[in-house]
């Protein structure tokens, strides 16, 4: 069994995570793509942030780099007060396992495991016991009750995404990054998940960063940040769906 060594975040740090001059370049020379081009951003603890921007603007890249799934070309990512650039593979792994939750754009479930097993997988890997009450809360909220013993191939796309969201929430990580968690869901289920995330932030102080293309989804967040061509273009506090829509129209011009 692995020993859990999640550092308790220093209470005086107001930011759960931040990126400093983050640059990510894919490829080299003539095929070079600057997916992130100097991004400076901080995510406040206990805050629900929506990241928006046109397709290809670097949203997913930012999520991956912040969640220690990928490394920056230059710049820094800091989770709590840990600078990711200083960590080796083992520490990055432990950080992913213990301090970060991730919801993928494609659900990425393990096909041989049941829904329930998928949800507890990160904790299983860490050799940690899930908190039963919290687990029940998560499951009942996303509404998977009777599908828990099914394999991913026996679930609909929406159900699979709900399993993926539950997996990120179940371990109560310091911060959750969600890449279009409601992208494949009908509006009712989507709203359910968004409300659940909102509740997690309000009631349990969970920090969530979510990528979305949907202004209505963004309206559930405390802040909406706009990314264009790998740079921060601006942000809206307590946005409404209309405000987001207007901002995006302006981007188009």
């Amino acid at each position: 069994m692995e020993v859990t060594d999640a550092e308790t975040p220093a209470a005086d740090t107001p930011l759960a995570a931040r990126a400093v001059s983050a640059v990510k370049i894919y490829g080299a020379d003539d095929t070079e793509v600057r997916a992130l081009d100097g991004v400076d951003i901080g995510f406040a603890r206990g805050c629900f942030t929506a990241i928006m921007g046109p397709s290809g603007s670097g949203k997913s890249t930012l999520m991956h780099c912040m969640a220690a799934l990928d490394t920056l070309t230059s710049g820094q990512v800091i989770i709590g007060d840990t600078e990711l650039g200083t960590l080796g593979d083992r520490d990055l792994t432990l950080l992913r396992r213990n301090r970060v939750g991730f919801v993928f754009q494609a659900y990425n479930l393990v096909p041989t495991l049941t829904a329930m097993e998928n949800i507890t997988l990160p904790m299983d890997l860490a050799g940690r016991r899930p908190d039963k009450n919290w687990l029940n809360t998560v499951i009942s909220t996303v509404g998977l009750g009777d599908r828990l013993s099914h394999r991913p191939s026996e679930l609909s796309g929406g159900q699979q995404q709900r399993v993926a969201v539950s997996r990120a929430m179940a371990g109560q990580p310091e911060i959750i990054f969600a890449d279009e968690p409601t992208g494949n869901l009908d509006s009712r289920t989507g709203t359910g998940i968004l409300e659940f995330m909102r509740r997690a932030v309000d009631e349990f102080g969970q920090t969530i960063v979510m990528v979305t293309h949907d202004p209505v989804a963004a309206a559930h967040a405390d802040t909406a940040v706009f990314l264009v061509d790998g740079r921060i273009h601006g942000e809206l506090a307590s946005p409404s769906a209309d405000e987001v829509l207007d901002y995006m129209k302006d981007l188009g011009d």
Partner: protein
């Protein structure tokens, strides 16, 4: 714990994959276990037999032998000594013991009893009941034989061949064929069937001495101690009473010597079988390795996801290794079970061919279990380790993005590369130079790593070719440097293994083009589906190459054996044509028993027939003498030197055969060159019984296919060695007589020697060829097991490919490919892969055979003859077998549900 659960889940999720992987290991383990259980059983049986043979004998007096095999040619003990020994204090009984091979009873139909291996022998039946290892069969009428006209027979042989107590039978013995009355049956040793298939005739000691040794004496004088007498004291007292060239030994030593002798034979048998087990294991290892590589490749997305969710590199390795351990353990368990079944099968086979093994229970020794686990789990683990290490280096996002994330190319550091290659070369050289098996193996393994890693730092291909080179170097060393037989075998095996691994590494380079070339036919004939077969086989050359590798190994060995067999036949034909001028060849059965021999009276009787112009007999005995020159122990060959040239032309290179006779020696030219001996020199020889004599070298000869290297005259043999039985006879038809008349004349003699077969040159050649064919068939059946495993490997890989290409196949079906076309597509891919493996295998096999022909002494194989037509047939069979092996995955592919397949990710 949870990791274990994950691993188990992932196994359960792919049951067929798991079973297919397991199967390969099971067969390998089962074979090894079968071999061990059988030979352990044999060991315990023969261990008991050794004790039985000397049961009741406390001390034994026999002649001293400094070298050679005392069962063949040791001087006999003077019967007069029996009385001297009896008079020693503490001796309760002392009796002469006689023992001789090639004593054959003739049944009531006039047929000589045959044996497929166990000895046919004659022994003396001691008068002293406690000195006796034989006991009267409790049928009420049996009794021990007494006097010159009676004999007894072991009960097993008697019952199996319908011998009746009271009837008269003829017995073929070294002194000729004579008639005796069967007065009793006996059993030998402690259990009823302890003779293990041997056929034993018994006489009283005096008669046995006359019949078996022509009155020359006893093999030993066996002694039973009086109660309370001290073994040491009696042994010392006897030692003082007997002449210098005799010795007294205790029961313990007798049993031990006998056991060693048996074990040597069993060890040979075991090594023969183990060689096949190793081939099977190597083939299995290739398949397991291949399977794990594919599985890890398929799961790369999944493993990447685990990494993203926080699984450490170590945990990834652990799941892959965990799966390997599970496969290993399950297959070891199954393998043990099947191995025991196999051992039972082998025993049934023994019984079927007449070599009954006593009912020793099948025991599974600790050794057996340890080897089974070492092999089952070990091979699987070793096969899984490379893929597992590769898996842990997967970058999570790269893996998630679609599995393209193979390990980064090795950095090019030419200088370091050359240094490593130099170190690898040095390690190989040091290992070979050490002439110690263990060191050589370790050095070669270290060298392979250094060479591969070093070469790869210069050029990716350089590393792979280096491994191939290492294999070649080991083979060359084994063949060209002087080693002990054991070391040669280890080096050969290791060399072959590295050649195969090297080929596996190098062959992806040409797998693509060659597969395209081979796929030309199917593409032409079957259009789109044939073309897809071709492209599928060509698109992942590494997989095609390693799938084909397993087949390559089996086919390489089969081809090599076939080419060697054919070359052997060719050599035989050449020899008969060039060197044998005799018209007739007479020998026991198939002329292949090293120790089978018969009375010289047979040749004498033939010589007396007017239809035959000349008759010559031949004898051979290994380790019969040693030279005064350098103390080398020699195998001696003996014949009637004066008439030899009418029968055989040994290609005399110096001196001449005219006027040659007793006191002279004929020498193979290489032996003479080695020792700087020339015609006219006199050489001192010391014979096994310590007699010494000087021989004049009369001639040197160049062709030793029939004669062995040192040839003396029968008259000298009779003078210096005991046991003057012949091993074969050649004859020349007299002028004016037809072949049929000559044959009748020979057969008139062999009526008294029904074990002898008369053959002319053509019949002899046909008989020898059919024996070679039988031997080849046996070897190929064993190797065939490895081919079957290799085909399972092809089926396995294709099944995995179908699994992997589910989506793609679904798409093809969606756009209109019918089931038949789908099946055809997969089947022909199997055929192409198998043909590819076949071509590599046949090529390597011919190369191996070529190397072997160069190294095998020319007296066995001097001409290389490649049966191309047979090899082409092998290739065709391989391709067809590949086609059949692919049927199962093809069926699966054609039954995929189109919609589900497309949705599959």
């Amino acid at each position: 714990m949870s990791l274990l659960r994950y691993t188990l889940k992932s196994i359960a999720g792919a049951r067929i994959r798991f079973l297919l992987t397991t199967l390969a290991v099971v067969v390998g383990v089962a074979f090894t276990v079968g071999v061990f259980v059988t030979t352990d059983g044999l060991r315990s049986t023969f261990g008991d037999l050794s004790e039985d043979i000397f049961e009741g004998v406390d001390l034994s007096v026999r002649s001293e032998v400094e070298f050679g095999d005392r069962d063949f040619g040791a001087p006999l003990v003077d019967p007069a000594l029996v009385d001297d020994i009896r008079s020693v204090d503490g001796v309760a009984a002392a009796e002469g013991g006689v023992f001789e091979f090639n004593v054959i009873a003739i049944d009531s139909n006039g047929e000589a009893l045959e044996s497929i291996g166990p000895p046919q022998m004659g022994v003396s039946w001691p008068e002293d009941q406690q000195l006796s290892q034989v006991s009267v069969w409790p049928d009420g009428i049996s009794r021990p034989p007494r006097g010159g006209g009676e004999f007894a027979l072991d009960a097993d042989t008697a019952r199996e061949n319908g011998f009746e107590v009271g009837d008269r039978y003829r017995i073929i013995a070294p002194t000729g064929t004579r008639e005796f009355t069967l007065v009793g049956l006996f059993r030998f040793g402690s259990s009823e069937d302890a003779t293990v298939g041997a056929q034993i005739a018994a006489w009283d000691a005096e008669t046995a001495q006359q019949v078996l040794h022509d009155g020359g004496g006893y093999d030993s004088i066996d002694v039973r101690l009086a109660p309370g007498a001290s073994l040491e004291a009696v042994a010392a007292a006897i030692g003082a009473a007997i002449p210098d060239n005799t010795e007294v030994v205790a029961n313990e030593q007798l049993v031990e010597e006998q056991t060693d002798e048996f074990n040597e034979f069993i060890g040979f048998f075991q090594n023969f079988l183990l060689a096949f087990a190793i081939v099977i294991l190597v083939v299995s290892a290739f398949i397991i390795y291949n399977t794990f590589t594919i599985i890890v490749g398929q799961r790369i997305r999944e493993l990447g996801l685990l990494r993203a969710l926080g699984a450490s590199g170590r945990q990834i390795t652990q799941t892959v290794v965990g799966e390997a351990v599970a496969v290993g353990l399950v297959s070891t368990g199954l393998g043990l079970g099947f191995g025991v079944l196999l051992a039972l099968g082998i025993r049934a086979l023994f019984t079927a061919i007449g070599a009954d093994l006593p009912d020793t229970p099948i025991t599974i020794g600790a050794n057996t279990v340890i080897s089974a686990v070492a092999i089952g789990v070990g091979v699987t683990l070793v096969s899984a380790i490379w893929p597992a290490l590769r898996a842990r280096r997967i970058a999570p996002m790269a893996a998630l993005a679609g599995g393209a994330g193979t390990a980064a190319d090795i950095k090019r550091v030419p200088l370091l590369g050359w240094a490593m290659i130099a170190a690898g070369g040095a390690a190989t050289a040091a290992g070979i130079a050490s002439q110690a098996t263990g060191t050589t193996v370790l050095a070669a393994i270290a060298a392979s790593v250094l060479l591969y890693a070093g070469g790869s730092r210069i050029h990716p291909l350089a590393g792979r070719i280096s491994v191939l080179g290492l294999g070649g170097a080991l083979l060359a060393a084994a063949l060209l440097v002087d080693y002990s037989t054991g070391d040669i075998l280890v080096l050969l095996g290791l060399g072959a293994l590295f050649v195969f691994v090297g080929m596996n590494l190098v062959s992806p380079v040409f797998a693509g083009p060659l597969a395209r070339f081979l796929g030309w036919g199917p593409a032409r004939v079957f259009g789109v589906s044939g073309n897809l077969s071709r492209e599928n086989a060509a698109r992942s050359p590494r997989r095609t190459a390693s799938t084909a590798s397993a087949l390559m190994i089996g086919l390489a060995l089969v081809s090599m054996v076939t080419v060697l067999g054919q070359s052997f036949k060719q050599t035989l034909a050449d020899t008969l044509e060039d060197s044998v001028s005799a018209d007739w060849l007479v020998c026991i059965d198939d002329c292949n028993e090293e120790f089978a021999a018969f009375s010289p009276l047979a040749a004498e009787a033939m010589a007396a027939q007017p239809e035959l112009a000349s008759v010559v007999s031949y004898r051979f005995r290994s380790e019969a003498a040693r030279t005064a020159i350098d103390g080398d122990i020699l195998d001696l060959f003996s014949t009637d030197l004066a008439t030899l040239d009418r029968h055989i032309d040994p290609d005399v290179s110096a001196g001449s055969l005219t006027g040659i006779g007793a006191g002279q020696i004929l020498l193979y030219e290489d032996e003479a060159d080695d020792r700087g001996i020339g015609v006219g020199d006199r050489i001192g020889l010391e014979f096994i019984g310590e007699q010494r004599a000087k021989f004049e070298v009369a001639a040197l000869f160049a062709d030793n296919t029939i004669l062995s290297n040192w040839v003396i005259d029968h008259r000298d043999w009779d003078r210096y060695l005991t046991g003057s039985q012949d091993q074969f006879v050649t004859a020349v038809t007299a002028p004016g007589y037809t072949a049929e008349q000559a044959r009748s004349a020979l057969e008139a003699v062999t009526v008294d020697y029904p074990q002898l077969e008369v053959r002319d040159q053509a019949e002899f050649q046909a008989n020898q060829e059919s024996q070679i064919d039988t031997f080849l068939a046996v070897v190929n059946v064993f190797l065939g097991v490895s081919l079957v495993i290799a085909l399972m490997g092809i089926a396995n890989t294709l099944a995995l490919s179908v699994f992997e290409r589910t989506r793609e196949i679904g798409l093809l079906r969606a756009v209109g490919m019918v089931r038949r076309q789908t099946r055809r597509m997969i089947r022909w891919e199997g055929a192409i892969v198998a043909a590819f493996g076949g071509i590599m295998g046949v090529a390597i096999g011919v190369l191996f055979a070529w190397a072997a022909v160069i190294v095998i002494p020319s007296r066995f194989i001097s001409a290389m003859d490649v049966p191309w037509a047979t090899l082409v047939v092998y290739l065709a069979i391989a391709a067809v077998a590949g086609l059949i092996a692919a049927s199962f995955p093809a069926l699966r592919a054609s039954r995929l549900n189109v919609l589900e397949a497309i949705a599959y990710e």
